[in-house]
């Protein structure tokens, strides 16, 4: 009984390993530009606190505009992960696909800059209404990751109900 159970588990594990090994080599479909900035944190003079001294960049630029290869089916999250690996930026996220959420980049985390702070991203200048793990990139896209200290209001992110949300959740 126990042996049968164990051998079943082993089979499942083995087949899982087999399937993960089957992903085919992808070809790049073009390039996308990515930049990571925390200007709003700098504007709030967070870098002058001892805690952040030497961790936050003085000019607010964690990653300047950089061209990176985009592969078929790559999402904004995949691009950020690639940037993290290529340029050794600290980054923490949880979830995948629709639930993917960026907690912090470059050791700057959500809530570090106040209650309404966190990371937001724009594609070609517009802040989309979907998550970063959902949005697929195409050739020539420009992705900007910006830190907000005010629920997107200090970035002109164009979320109409941000102010209303803030007022209702005092």
């Amino acid at each position: 009984m126990l042996k049968k159970f164990l051998s079943n588990m082993f089979l499942i594990l083995f087949s899982l390993l087999l399937f993960t090994g089957c992903s085919e080599q992808k070809e790049p479909i073009g390039t996308a530009t990515i930049s990571i900035r925390c200007d709003t944190a700098i504007a709030n003079e967070m870098q002058k606190e001892e805690k952040w001294n030497g961790i936050l960049p003085e000019d607010g630029c964690i990653l300047s505009k950089t061209e990176m290869l985009v592969y078929e089916g790559d999402t904004v999250l995949d691009l950020l992960i690639a940037a993290r690996d290529d340029y050794e930026i600290q980054m923490e996220y949880h979830g995948a696909g629709t639930t993917a959420y960026i907690e912090g980049i470059g050791n700057l985390y959500e809530y570090d800059g106040g209650r309404w702070s966190g990371w937001m991203f724009s594609v070609n200048g517009e802040y989309p209404e979907v998550g970063c793990g959902q949005l697929t990139l195409k050739d020539g896209d420009t992705v900007e990751w910006n830190y907000t200290c005010d629920l997107g209001l200090d970035l002109d992110a164009g979320m109409e109900d941000a102010q209303e949300w803030k007022d209702n959740h005092q």
């Binding site: 805690k51 952040w52 030497g54 992960i81 600290q90 923490e92 050791n107 700057l108 985390y109």
Partner: protein, 292 residues
């Protein structure tokens, strides 16, 4: 003669509340090590060696587990060690894991001391008048664990006499199940008996009274005075920046300037008081006859 146990319950309760509060407020590996040491020092005076080893066997893997688990969950920190599952393991997260593991161990050890020091009669004496129902309920609940352990031991002993030693995992599992079901039946029966007994003794007719022999003596007043002094010193140091380390995004350096050393010293004395008092009594007891 057990000196610390014989202090007035209010002294013991205040002392334990202060120490546990300080452990909860602080976030510093040294403070946690001191707290663990103080609790172990006291427990080593009052327990047998086997119980102490059993405690360590449970606590050390727990500290290790938290130390390993924290960096796997949290990836904050500027000092990167290596990549694992696509995310960086950082030194800060490891150190934070060690500190929180030690603080959990310190809390468990101090609650073990609490169980040794604040027996149910003392607890009922302190809170029986203010909140009779909840005090009784809390004592009964806390009593339940040790009572069940005792009963399980009795069941195991008697079953060992009745049945041969089981062979194989399945037989062992069956044996354990039998013990647990016996324990369940027994405790159900106990509940009924306890309720009957309480009713027969007139529980609920009048306010509950307790019998006690506690007297507030000069030594209790002295102890409370010393406790206030040490407690105020510790809390003042805590709220002027001692005993709290920042771990994220960058670890604070361990500072050993005058203020910090004073804080560690005072806290060290505070947590060692029960152990020292017990030790003193033990030495006095041993050498008393020689000095005659």
């Amino acid at each position: 003669m057990r000196y610390f146990k014989n202090l007035h319950p209010i002294c013991i309760f205040c002392y334990l509340v202060l120490v546990i509060l300080l452990i909860l407020l602080c976030k510093d590996p040294f403070v946690m090590l001191l707290a663990c040491f103080g609790a172990l020092f006291f427990l080593a005076r009052t327990e047998t060696r086997n119980t102490a080893i059993g405690r360590l066997k449970m606590l050390l893997p727990m500290v290790l587990l938290i130390t390993i688990a924290n960096p796997l969950v949290s990836h904050k920190g500027v000092t990167r060690l290596f990549l694992m599952f696509g995310q960086w393991i950082t030194l800060e997260a490891v150190c934070y894991g060690i500190t929180s593991g030690l603080s959990l161990a310190a809390l468990i050890l101090w609650f073990a001391c609490y169980q040794k020091l604040m027996t149910s009669d003392k607890f009922l004496y302190l809170f029986g008048k203010i909140a009779p129902a909840s005090a009784l309920l809390i004592t009964m609940t806390l009593n339940l664990v040790s009572k069940l352990q005792l009963q399980l031991k009795q069941i195991q002993d008697s079953q060992e006499m009745l049945r041969p030693e089981p062979v194989g995992n399945l037989q062992k599992l069956k044996k354990a199940m039998r013990h647990v079901s016996t324990l369940l039946g027994w405790s159900l029966e106990n509940t009924v008996e306890q309720a009957d007994s309480m009713k027969a003794r007139g529980y609920g007719i009048q306010r509950r009274t307790t019998f006690h022999l506690f007297r507030f003596e000069t030594r209790d007043a002295m102890f409370l005075g010393m406790l206030t002094l040490l407690g105020v010193l510790c809390l003042a140091a805590r709220f002027t920046g001692c005993g709290v380390m920042e771990f994220y995004p960058r670890m604070d350096a361990l500072s050993f300037d005058g203020k910090h050393l004073l804080f560690y010293g005072v806290f060290g004395i505070l947590v060692c008081i029960p152990g020292i008092l017990e030790w003193k009594e033990e030495l006095l007891w041993r050498f008393y006859s020689l000095n005659q």
